[in-house]
């Protein structure tokens, strides 16, 4: 499924959680994976959703370091 993380669309397995999309985003951007635990993840409306939020096709999330 396709998930938009910040301005990047990543493709990730079905059943992925927010942390998986961010990990793919970090790998794609060649950023350290350790940023995952120090950053925060938000939905498209700006609500914090944490690392284990289930995702659906086409969803937008924001990762802030």
């Amino acid at each position: 499924m396709k998930i938009r993380v910040n301005r990047t669309v990543v493709e990730i397995f079905d059943g992925a959680k927010s942390q998986h999309a961010v990990l793919r985003y970090l790998a794609h951007r060649r950023l350290p994976k350790s940023l995952l635990t120090s950053g925060r993840i938000y939905d498209a409306y700006g609500h914090e959703i944490g690392l284990d939020a289930p995702l659906r096709e086409g969803q937008t999330i924001k990762f802030k370091k």
Binding site: H20, L26, D52
Partner: protein
């Protein structure tokens, strides 16, 4: 006559005053607790404090009470600790989350039987497999105020909640909106109507537009941290992030048979200064789980390298999922020594402690090769551990972090077909960090990789990985 009229007028005033009396309904709500049993002493203290102020407090969960904590999930009866702790805190009701089905219908039925709180879920059809039936709706009488609840669980394109398909065999579900609308007559019977949903924030907002007759949606599933609650289409929506970091205290003010005010505030659980000592003692009891010392298999010779333990892990995933090939990032193998003797549940959880999900993909040989290389570049621990193939990796002498050549062969030494399609299994971390081109991104099997290793060891009985080696690494001469 004048005296009689005055008496009647006074009686009417009194009656109207009584009729217009405002009453408050207090609800403490949690969602997506995911078996964070360590926070239950604080949750119980919060419930105690609120109950002292509001004796008719309702305590409600919006589902996903279980799954995510081995102390709970690996108990002899999976998720039994959560049921006991929810009973102790005094939960009145929960809806089903998709993870409530993780032990299958029979497992869920057992837990329902042990619960002193009710399960409200209108879109789960009655099924003999459950033994105990969930209620579609429930009406609570809170000091004379009738509060009606309708429950609903998320369903995906297969028309089942997100769990392993085997877990919902024999169960059937109906679409959320049309099911809730079917029970809209509850509005006429109640002073306040609450939708107890496990469908995610986006769908809760969409639902509020379709059911303006509801007063409140207590939501779950998307782990969305709302600041107290949000008003959408006149319906108050609440939800917190997962693992009992926060709960919500909701106050509904009811007058003349309808809700005239509603508000919600978050309460921090993890940092709450008080703990209920009885609940803390029960959590301590569950934390000393003898299940962790259960012997799964016997090691006839010691394991002495990451390679051996990685080979065993990936063998487990390949064999138990019926795949052709399995691999893991080397950082996912957490120790390199295990003496001969018993291989326990605790040993497995130390070896694979991250709660990773199992991901199955259909890959061509070339796509697998690209994925193995991408995993190496994105994991600081080097080339992956594999099962079902043999890998010869040659790193570049000038750029030792770069792979100059990767030769893959079949276990019998024959040529590996790069064009053939293979069923491949890995963990969710590896599937995420391996940013390489492939047609199939795979799908989660909704089973932790650690639970699959446990199964494999139990099926094997005895294991010996002496001399097993499948990845051979060298540096180029030029």
């Amino acid at each position: 006559m004048k005296k009689l009229l005055l008496t009647l007028a006074a009686a009417c005033l009194l009656a109207s005053a009584a009729f217009a009396e405002k009453k408050e309904v207090h609800i403490l709500s949690a969602n997506d607790m995911h078996a964070k049993i360590e926070n239950f002493p604080q949750l119980a203290a919060i419930a105690d404090s609120l109950r002292a102020l509001y004796p008719s407090l309702l305590i409600i969960s919006a589902g996903d009470n279980r799954t995510g904590e081995p102390l709970n999930d690996l108990y002899e009866i999976p998720a039994y600790p959560m049921v006991v702790l929810m009973n102790m805190v005094g939960f009145d009701a929960t809806t089903m989350g998709n993870h409530e089905f993780d032990s299958g219908a029979r497992g869920l039925g057992e837990l329902m039987h042990m619960s002193t709180f009710s399960y409200i879920c209108a879109n789960l059809m009655p099924a003999p497999e459950l033994g105990v039936l969930p209620r579609p709706t429930q009406i609570f009488d809170v000091d004379g105020v009738r509060v009606g609840f309708i429950g609903a669980v998320q369903i995906n394109e297969r028309q089942t909640p997100d769990t392993h398909p085997d877990n919902v065999v024999g169960l059937s579900f109906t679409p959320v909106l049309e099911t809730i609308e079917k029970y809209s007559s509850i509005r006429e019977e109640c002073d306040a109507v609450v939708l107890l949903t496990h469908i995610g924030y986006d769908d809760d907002v969409a639902l509020s537009a379709e059911v303006p007759w509801a007063d409140l949606i207590i939501g779950g599933h998307s782990h969305t941290q709302l600041a107290g609650g949000e008003m959408h289409n006149g319906v108050l929506i609440t939800q917190n992030t997962n693992r009992l970091q926060r709960v919500t205290h909701i106050t509904l003010t009811v007058e003349d048979g309808r809700v005239i005010d509603k508000k919600a505030e978050n309460i921090e659980v993890e940092t709450y200064p008080k703990k209920n000592k009885v609940v803390a003692e029960m959590v301590r009891y569950f934390s000393d789980n003898p299940e962790f010392q259960r012997v799964l298999a016997t090691l006839t010779a010691p394991m002495t390298s990451y390679e051996q333990l990685g080979c065993m892990m990936t063998d487990a995933w390949r064999v138990e999922t019926g795949s052709d090939i399995a691999f893991t990032n080397t950082g996912g193998v957490r120790y390199d020594q295990l003496p001969a003797g018993p291989f326990t549940v605790s040993d497995v959880l130390r070896l694979d402690p991250f709660g990773n999900d199992t991901i199955q993909l259909e890959l061509t040989g070339q796509e697998l090769k690209d994925m193995l290389i991408a995993t190496t570049y994105n994991d600081t621990y080097g080339f992956p551990k594999v099962s079902g193939i043999i890998c010869n990796v040659i790193f570049d002498k000038k750029h030792p972090e770069k792979i100059k050549e990767l030769k893959i062969t079949n276990p019998d030494g024959s040529k590996f077909d790069l064009k053939k399609t293979y069923k491949v299994v890995t963990n969710s971390y590896t599937a995420s960090i391996a940013d390489s081109p492939r047609k199939d991104q795979g799908r989660a099997l909704n089973r932790t990789t650690a639970s699959i290793i446990q199964e494999y060891l139990e099926h094997q009985g005895t294991i010996d990985y002496t001399g097993v080696e499948r990845t051979f690494q060298s540096v180029s001469k030029k």
